[in-house]
């Protein structure tokens, strides 16, 4: 028989969203549409929305569940009159809502529904580790690696997972030794076209496709505008871009291999990725606009893509959930790792659903995975505890 759920025994899941990143708004959509709602509908948890405003202030209030609060712009007035939430580390995470009578809310699990800087790059994960509370999605180390394109490619290469050839350099290096850098590009024998990318940003902001060496300078300038590390990477020819959401700690469950449909442009930019998502007809709606689900590729290639994605997920040390972006050379039948998204927008619920996992199942499983990882970490901590000081 199923577990009887008694209200008072329900665990409290805090869904953290918003944040001080360029993807603040997308995080709101992810949190309210794809996390809060199904978590509540599961009836298994008390769900607490925790909103981080653009200025970094934290708010915890049930009113934050309403998307209208954000779409109508009422959020500013709300933040102005609502008391900010305080964090208390009390062998676990406690949120304090100050007021006439301060309300203390013990958080059992945190569900970060954040994208980009601070939320997805390991910063929040570090905070939650310090607080000693289980949280959904990749742990700190994997998040840090994932959000750095250079680091993740280096890790991937060390695990013998194929990824396009690249060089990287910092802004100061470029400023000081421009000529040397161009020579480095030459020496690396990168074939044009190449992509010039800022190392850290998640979406395709600041990425330029460069066809000939003359245009390299301008593209590097643009990338440097966004980040202090830039990579120049060989473009994959006969390209098919696919992406695979994967869930799990040790045992991995991949969703379907999805093929985002690019427009006439060579690749997606921020606009097509988020702003126009699903506004026009045709294709599947998702955080990425339109896509073929499952990808329209031969079965052998499809399986190879799944394999590469799983290997990449393991190599980077992802847990909970992540989405692996792959580049396929459809002529050479080769699959390359491109990058990894520790917190895919929308959780890629549309893909999971096609793979047979309903949104309610998805979020509850993610919470369970978070608790499982936490329990294992605690076991490790117990074995490591020493009584060093008492020896004296």
């Amino acid at each position: 028989m199923p577990k009887a759920t008694i209200r008072s025994m329900k665990k409290t899941v805090a869904v953290i969203f918003g944040g001080r990143s360029a993807e603040h708004d997308i995080s709101i959509v992810t949190a309210i549409g794809s996390v809060l709602k199904p978590l509540e509908l599961s009836q298994q948890y008390n769900v607490l929305p925790v909103y981080i405003a653009k200025d970094g202030s934290w708010y915890a209030d049930m009113k934050l569940k309403d998307i209208q609060l954000f779409t109508t712009g009422g959020i500013e007035a709300f933040c102005a009159k609502t008391k900010k939430a305080q964090l208390l580390f009390d062998n676990g995470l406690v949120l304090i809502k100050s007021g006439l009578r301060a309300e203390k809310i013990k958080i059992d699990v945190v569900f970060p529904a954040m994208h980009g800087t601070f939320g997805e790059d390991g910063s929040l994960m570090g905070l939650l580790r310090m607080a000693h509370v289980p949280f959904v999605g990749c742990d700190m180390t994997a998040s840090v690696i994932a959000m750095d394109k250079v680091l993740s490619k280096q890790v991937i290469m060390a695990a013998s997972v194929p990824t396009p050839k690249f060089i990287h350099f910092s802004n100061s290096e470029f400023a000081a030794h421009q000529k040397a850098i161009f020579e480095q590009v030459e020496a690396a024998r990168l074939h044009y076209p190449v992509f010039v990318k800022p190392a850290h940003l998640g979406s395709s902001i600041g990425i330029t496709r460069v066809i000939k060496p003359d245009d390299l300078q301008n593209a590097i300038e643009v990338a440097m505008h966004y980040d202090d590390t830039v990579l120049v990477e060989e473009a994959v020819t006969s390209l098919i871009e696919v992406t695979v959401p994967i869930m799990g700690n040790d045992e991995l469950t991949p969703a379907l291999v999805e093929q985002p449909l690019t427009k006439a442009e060579d690749f997606l930019d921020f606009d097509t990725k988020y702003m126009q998502g699903g506004k026009k007809g045709g294709g599947k709606r998702g955080a990425q606009g339109y896509s073929k689900l499952p990808a329209d590729i031969p079965e052998s290639l499809y399986n190879k893509a799944l394999e590469v994605a799983k290997n990449a997920y393991k190599a980077i040390g992802c847990t909970g959930i992540a989405r692996i972006d792959l580049l396929i050379d459809s002529k050479a039948n080769k699959v390359y790792f491109n990058e990894v998204n520790p917190m895919p927008g929308d959780l890629y619920a549309h893909n999971w659903r096609q793979a047979g996992i309903a949104p309610v199942q998805l979020v509850t499983r993610l919470v369970e995975l978070a608790e499982a990882r936490f329990a294992r970490q605690q076991q490790l901590e117990v074995t490591l505890t020493t009584n060093f000081l008492k020896q004296f």
Partner: protein, 479 residues
């Protein structure tokens, strides 16, 4: 105590209006619901109020009543202040105490008055006019009666007969003397076939309707415990529905052999007893059911019909073959009948499939009887699916048998090894769960506290490849 205080919350007024509307302004149902309700803040959880003119007028009246009470209260307090007689304070207290009840019941008065003065005479004139009009009409009259399945039967028959005849049919659930009279008054006189659905809730209802429509042919689609509260015993239900057969002692009356109560009452050798095996010489073979519909072959002598109906479920074969026989008797060709069958589609909220993100939702929320639950579970088992999900609040108005019926449903569900069972939590939930337990159900069970939330957010519960059957919608007045 806090629950009691909900009577003084502004929502109370809206709740009263909602209760009136949901009980179709029937004082008895309304009153029973009112007396049963303890917490008025939870009323109107399943559906919401529809603001009709009537509702608006009543809302004004309700608030008027509240206003009068508040004024009385204020005046009494004022007098008490002025005169210092404690009697006035007590009076004010009494007003406060009885106020909500007065409001709840006084609102019935104008409704009752409207009935007597305006509606009743108007209705009598309407029925008289219909009587006259029908007397001069040359069309063949077919009447459909039964506790369940009559609307579907009527619509299916109309669809098939329309392939060769001019057919007029009572729309929707218009099955009372008033509704049918309104329908008759819209006839042009050219119709060849008139199809009537006869409603029943009290003894004599079917007879009264038969006298109005004077049928030449009848169909009894099934009998069950529906309206048992008004009928008191199942025997009375049976004889009321069989008033149609009584009215046509010699005329053809088709009867559903798959309904036990109908079969018992009918003669064993009645050739017009229909079932999934056939009727009146028609034999059924090769039947299959998929999400796209029900297919079978019907044979009678030289006549062969390959039937492809959009209706879902083995249980549809009986009514379909009865329709085939009626159409055949009325002179339609085999190909006309086959064409008609192809046009039969599920009706709204009756075994109606629709896609949702790659999952199939079968909407059978208008079903309200245990026979329907049985065929529903049966259908769910037969369909290809990644997960089979069954959703129900249980059945309404089953009287004394509520417990046994729901325990039985639980057992059926367990036996069918449905993957996920979703129950809207209410008074019968425990019985279904008990049935599940007895039959050793091991799969997932979900108890839902907020049905409206669940139904409107169905998309969050489904994934591609799931088949979800939704049965038996409840209104609040049964909560």
């Amino acid at each position: 105590m806090i629950k009691y205080l909900t009577r003084y919350h502004p929502h109370y007024i809206t709740a009263l209006l909602y209760m009136l509307q949901a009980s179709e302004y029937k004082p008895k149902d309304y009153s029973a619901w009112y007396l049963r309700t303890k917490d008025f803040s939870t009323v109107a959880r399943r559906r919401s109020l529809v603001m009709t003119t009537k509702a608006k007028l009543l809302l004004i009246l309700l608030w008027g009543l509240v206003l009068i009470q508040v004024m009385c209260f204020a005046i009494m307090l004022w007098i008490w202040f002025a005169s210092d007689e404690v009697g006035w304070l007590i009076m004010a207290g009494i007003v406060t105490l009885v106020g909500p009840f007065v409001t709840a019941y006084v609102v019935l008065f104008p409704l009752w008055l409207g009935q007597i003065v305006i509606q009743r005479p108007k209705q009598r004139r309407l029925i008289a006019a219909a009587h006259q009009k029908l007397a001069a009409h040359k069309g063949l009259r077919i009447a459909v009666a039964g506790s369940f399945g009559k609307t579907t039967f009527k619509e299916v028959l109309a669809t098939i007969l329309s392939e060769g005849k001019m057919v007029a049919v009572t729309p929707g659930n218009m099955n009372t003397p008033i509704g049918i009279s309104r329908f008759i008054n819209t006839l042009t006189g050219k119709e060849e076939i008139l199809l009537f659905e006869l409603g029943e809730s009290h003894v004599g209802d079917v007879k009264e309707l038969c006298e109005l429509v004077q049928p030449n042919m009848g169909i009894i689609t099934g009998i069950n415990e529906a309206h048992l509260i008004t009928f008191k015993t199942i025997e009375r239900t049976t004889s009321t529905i069989f008033e149609l057969a009584d009215f046509l002692p010699h005329g053809p009356v088709y009867k559903n052999a798959e309904s036990e109560l109908v079969r018992k009452r009918a003669h064993k050798n009645d050739r017009l007893l229909y079932s999934r095996r056939g009727v009146n010489g028609w034999a059924i073979s090769d039947s299959t059911v998929s999400i796209n519909g029900t297919h079978f072959t019907a044979t009678k002598g030289q006549k062969i019909i390959w039937a492809e109906s959009g209706l879902l479920g083995q249980h549809q074969i009986g009514p379909l073959v009865a329709c085939i026989d009626i159409a055949d008797t009325l002179g339609l060709s085999v190909s006309q009948i086959a064409d008609g069958l192809k046009k039969t589609k599920p009706f709204e909220h009756r075994m109606q499939p629709r896609q949702l993100h790659g999952a199939w939702i079968i909407d059978d929320t208008y079903n309200g009887n245990k026979e329907g639950v049985k065929v529903g579970i049966d259908l769910l088992c037969r369909l290809e699916a990644r997960r089979r999900i069954y959703v129900t609040p249980g059945l309404v108005g089953q009287g004394e048998k509520t417990q046994t019926i729901h325990t039985e449903i639980g057992k059926q569900l367990a036996a069918a090894s449905i993957d996920v069972i979703v129950l809207m939590r209410n008074s019968v939930t425990a019985y279904i769960v008990e049935g599940l337990r007895q039959a050793g159900f091991q799969n997932e069970l979900l108890l839902i506290d907020e049905p409206l939330q669940f139904y409107t957010n169905l998309e969050h519960f489904v994934a591609a490849g799931d088949v979800i059957l939704l049965q038996n919608d409840w209104t609040d007045n049964y909560a």
